[in-house]
């Protein structure tokens, strides 16, 4: 296709064939995006349609009665739950946003010794194993937790000075476990930000604060919107954290109750409304984001970032990021502590009184220990590869192509994320327990492939979101330049689009991979003995009250994830594809 042309020959124009006239039609784009919709049809619409249909069905007929039951003012539990879920989610978005963006800023904007290490460690809370992870907050901040008890002893108080309870508890847990969405997307956006914009603002007299408020934050909008959507929806679907801190009136709890009571119609209605709220939030965010342009518009490539930085600022950044990372790592450290302490011995003391290596001995002498770890990695990698292909393609389509139905595409991608994991898993079980076209005539249930599929569906938005926010930032004329130089679409994608969006793609990939390694809610409903993932293994050890061993297992998981993070950082040279 790209053979060198004799210089004086006419341009290499093939006579038009039917194929050519097809590819040149303005509607050809629909052919290109069709595979995306097909995948969504197979793995989102088809499995989830049942839920929505069920919510509208009553005794075989079509009825809105479930909805009127939901909104009836007699029993306000549902409405209260909805309200609680929404406001917890909004608050979570805010707290996660503050922590995530602040950490991204400290670690991206200042160069100081140890920065590289910290920027790996800051991602580690993402690796918090789901079941023991939440417990570690109790051990830290609960009324018998290390910090309240420590303070009590230190200050000789009768009672612990504070304990983590209620909404605050939920917010703390959400913040600690979800800020990484903000951190990841924001740090890749900060890397890609045109430094000359800050210079321009400074030159016009804006101080640091104003620059942040008026230039940097607005320019991070795509990244912040992406993370907000992820955090909002996952908070809406959050189950354990509210439960632990006694906020039981949440949507997820209502769904759980309806399901235990066998009231499946109501559960479907509640699930539908949960996703409707999430989708409304999505539409709101899309509208907000769509009002402005975030593409770097500068002529040429801006010179390297402003070097004028005060020593004091640098040192403050160093101290702050060190403290920040330490605080964020505390829950992890507690798990490590528990993994080394004897079960049942730690009662009224501030710290565990006796330590042991037994839990690790158990693990390392048990030949089956590594099976779940290998399983989790296998499943997660398989799912992440799928997410990568799909997410990048979808992000490219939404940001760069012109077609109708973008919002629909976006909604469909987000849908599985907006629903509680149980609902997703149950839908998949229902859809794939019998052979059908979308499962290539296989029974997926009970096979290895149902788990990667579930992870794929559940983590659909991760790579998609972070990639599209990075793409939104990069100047599309660079792509045009490549095309102009004769590069085919695929070549352009490989040599230009991909490297320039790499930081966002990588952020999403890591999120998806790590989420996959920790996934529990869907796994427990889909695993088989041959495909037991780490999280289920940990659950079973907890279920057998081998708490210390469960923690040791958690530590193993964390170590593996740190290795993944470290290796990925090495492979991409730290600041992968900083486009500017």
């Amino acid at each position: 296709m790209n053979k060198p042309q004799p210089q004086l020959a006419p341009p290499p124009i093939r006579s038009s064939s039917r194929w050519n006239s097809l590819t040149r039609s303005p509607h050809f784009v629909y052919v290109l995006i069709a595979p995306l919709f097909l995948i969504l049809l197979a793995y989102v619409i088809y499995p989830f349609f049942q839920t929505f249909r069920q919510s509208l069905q009553l005794d075989g007929g079509f009825s809105l009665q479930n909805y009127s039951r939901f909104f009836s003012l007699e029993h306000t539990a549902n409405l209260e739950a909805l309200w609680t879920s929404v406001y917890i989610s909004v608050l979570s978005v805010i707290t996660c946003g503050i922590v995530g963006v602040a950490m991204a800023f400290l670690l991206e904007r200042y160069e100081f010794p140890g920065r590289k290490l910290l920027s790996v460690l800051v991602l580690v809370p993402m690796a918090l194993p789901p079941l023991i992870g939440v417990l570690s907050f109790e051990f830290l901040y609960g009324s018998s937790g290390i910090i309240p008890r420590g303070l009590q002893h230190l200050l000789h108080l009768d009672k612990p000075p504070f304990t983590l309870k209620g909404i605050w508890g939920v917010l703390v847990v959400h913040t600690f476990t979800m800020y990484t969405y903000f951190y990841m997307t924001a740090s890749s956006a900060i890397k890609g930000l045109d430094p000359s914009l800050e210079e321009a603002a400074a030159n016009l007299g804006a101080n640091r604060f104003t620059i942040w408020r008026r230039v940097i934050l607005p320019m991070l909008t795509p990244a912040i919107v992406a993370a907000s959507l992820l955090v909002f929806m996952i908070s809406m679907a959050s189950y354990t954290a509210p439960l632990i801190f006694g906020i039981e009136r949440t949507m997820t709890m209502q769904i759980y109750l309806s399901r235990t009571n066998g009231d499946l119609d109501m559960a479907a209605t509640q699930s539908t409304l949960l996703s409707v709220v999430s989708i409304l939030f999505l539409i709101l965010m899309r509208w907000y984001q769509g009002a402005r342009n975030y593409q770097n518009m500068s002529k040429g490539v801006s010179v390297h970032r402003t070097e004028v930085k005060s020593k004091a600022g640098r040192n403050t950044a160093m101290v702050l990021s060190f403290l920040g990372v330490l605080v964020l790592m505390l829950p992890i450290l507690v798990i490590v502590l528990l993994a080394f302490s004897e079960d049942g011995k730690w009662t009224t003391q501030v710290l565990p009184p006796s330590y042991t290596l037994d839990h690790f001995k158990d693990l390392f002498t048990d030949s089956k220990t590594w099976r779940p770890i290998a399983n989790s990695f296998k499943i997660s990698i398989a799912a992440t590869i799928g997410n990568l292909l799909f997410g990048v393609a979808a992000a490219y389509a939404i940001v760069r192509m012109n077609f109708k139905g973008k919002t629909l595409l976006d909604i469909l991608i987000m849908l599985p994320w907006a629903l509680p994991g149980t609902v997703v898993a149950v839908n998949l079980i229902t859809a794939f327990s019998e052979p059908n076209a979308f499962s290539f005539g296989q029974v997926l249930i009970g096979s290895f492939w149902i788990l990667p599929l579930a992870y794929f569906v559940r983590h659909l938005p991760l790579i998609f979101r972070s990639t599209s926010s990075t793409l939104m930032q990069t100047d599309r004329s660079v792509e045009e330049a490549a095309r102009n130089l004769g590069a085919s679409w695929w070549y352009t994608f490989r040599r230009v689009v991909f490297p320039m969006a790499l930081s966002g793609i990588l952020a999403g990939t890591l999120l998806a991979l790590v989420e996959g390694i920790g996934e529990f809610v869907a796994s427990i409903l889909l695993y088989t003995n041959k495909t037991t993932p780490i999280s289920v293994e940990i659950f079973q050890r907890m279920y057998a009250f081998e708490f210390g061993t469960a923690c040791a297992y958690g530590v193993l998981q964390i170590v593996m994830i740190i290795l993944v993070l470290y290796v990925s950082r090495r492979l991409t040279g730290g600041n992968a594809g900083s486009a500017i």
């Binding site: 006419p10 341009p11 490539v301 330049a481 095309r483 004769g486 040599r495 594809g577």
Partner: protein
Amino acid sequence: MIGVTLDRVSKTFGGAKGVEEVDVHINPGEFFTFLGPSGCGKTTTLRMIAGFYYPSDGRILFGEHNVTNMPPNKRNTGMVFQNYALFPHMTVFENIAFGLQVRKQGKAEINEKVTRAQKLVHLDGYGQRRIDQLSGGQQQRVALARALVIEPNILLLDEPLSNLDAKLREETRQEIKRLQLELGITTIYVTHDQSEAMSMSDRIMVMKDGVVQQIGTPHEIYNRPVNRFVASFIGESNLWEGTVERLEGGMVDVRLAPDLRLTGLAKNASPECKLAVGQKVTLSVRPEAVREAAASERGEANTMAVKVLLSEFTGISVNYMAQAGPLSVKAMFVGQGHRMRERDEEVLFTVAPDSIYFLE
């Protein structure tokens, strides 16, 4: 060699109009320039030729072939973008080599061609620099080298020299011209520099607000503009309004003010201008056509006494803004022979009849 035809091409952006009914045939191997004020639609037109915008209306042909919907990478055009559009994640070398790599040329060949291109834009030794370590002008030169090195059929240059100094611009201009002649590349050039356009182009298209005003050789455009806009846009021009008083023997007398009458040649009239006694016409006189008259010439035909309002030395010339009764007169004197006048001095100016041009 291949020609480019824009067949009544229009482009609108939502409501806003970009360009309207551009209809032009660019000959194979021609050096064709788009000229017009900022925002008149030059880039838009160029981008349609490159294939980044679909025309809202009309067709684009390369030779006989309709390329209106052909994807950009099939067009074999080389473009210098107004904003450069360099690949920020590649070095200078990689940027320039990109198009050659796409064409699957051999490593040695690429190396050699890129090195040559780097030399051409005076960037030898910068191959391994990152793009963000270059000055603005250096970036522009990378963009230029990147487009030239692939030796395309059609070269689209969107203000490719705007950030270069005169010396370098001159050299690069000659280089572009040489390549164009040697390889028979059809070149479409966007510039805001009229003199550049004049000296390089085979033909020029003057646009305004998305509408084509005139297409012609530099001589035609300069000496026979079709309307006031072209006259004033291409170089400086004095535009004076007056009434035809006499029309005789190919000579036209026009009264500009009660005590000021100029005589010109009837053949120097734009096609749209009908000369007739009593008719209002516009006279266009280039500042450099205004000469200083000796004191002895006072009162002679086409001579006027003016008062200097502003004088300015530009190096090669002295420019005046002056007042002759109700008329404001721009004049330009080149060379050493002229004593520079100060504000409020009185001078005698004269205009040769054959340097007066009549517009509607």
